[in-house]
């Protein structure tokens, strides 16, 4: 277990890493903001999936996912096919144009990183990736921890398995006349 001063410093670095993210965002194509890029990247990495799965991988609300997906679909980078097994669902799939866009994103991003991290060793980059991944796991697991998953692992392979089963839905307290 680490000390308090370390946690304060870690919080500071987490806040500050936003500057790096903004730098990466600045090199994106005009019509492909970070949210769209994330959608394309995850579809490219994990293959076809439904909205709810994508929302889980993005760690954002499905309403947010829906907006990003609509933006990406409007540009022809993905298609939304109805799921024959559950017609409420829509299966997302990269189009050839989407693959091309994804290639362009990858090209720009890796170019910038290669330039900025020119003096990093292969091992250092791996270390950072490993620790950031673990950080995300340490946080993300709490969203599925108290939930007892049913026997069937749903579909596909779940790398993080955050299958949020709404165990507590107490957000409907009062209509709250806004």
């Amino acid at each position: 277990m680490a000390e308090q001063a370390q946690f304060e410093e870690l919080a500071r670095q987490l806040s500050a890493v936003g500057a790096v993210k903004r730098d990466l965002g600045r090199i994106l194509p005009m019509d492909c903001p970070a949210g769209s890029a994330a959608v394309l990247t995850l579809l490219g990495r994990h293959g076809d999936m439904r909205m709810s799965k994508l929302a889980e991988l993005l760690s954002v609300d499905m309403s947010v996912t829906s907006r990003h997906v609509a933006h990406v679909a409007a540009r022809g980078w993905i298609e939304r096919h109805p799921d024959p097994a559950d017609r409420r669902s829509r299966i997302l799939r990269l189009t050839p144009a989407g693959l091309a866009q994804l290639d362009e994103l990858s090209r720009r991003t890796t170019h910038l990183l290669a330039e900025r991290l020119a003096d990093w060793s292969d091992d250092e980059v791996s270390q950072l990736i490993r620790l950031m991944t673990r950080l995300r796991t340490s946080f993300g697991d709490c969203r599925s921890a108290p939930v007892r998953l049913p026997a069937h692992p749903a579909e596909d392979t779940a790398p993080v398995a955050v299958q949020t089963t709404p165990a507590f839905d107490e957000t409907t307290r009062t209509p709250a006349s806004t």
Copy 2:
């Protein structure tokens, strides 16, 4: 130098770490959003400074800094004193109420991190801090590259920061970038 696949993965992790930041943001007091928290944290760590210096440490435009500072000042957490040496400038200083608020922020943040990272070793946290700090430096240096730092480069868990000028030099006239 790392490979392309590593850079793609790093970009993915940088994008995904936003979820952790949002989790941290959710435990902040109602009237103290992340931008305000960052202002208080940096003033607590680096001491009194002017707007432009704070903007540099935040790595955001001064217009953004101005908004955050106005929010924080309106709640009495900082004071803005005119700089006698340059009356265009305003020196920012934490008030006792600001210090109290900063303590509360630190308490909440470290509590959440200690909970989530309970199974992390002291050394792992240090590694992550070190690598994130270096990442920020590798990116931020392009903004302050032409600046020559004085003999003492600060060590250990130092402010890191972009620090284009020594802290004791008040009349910053370095063109920086922009």
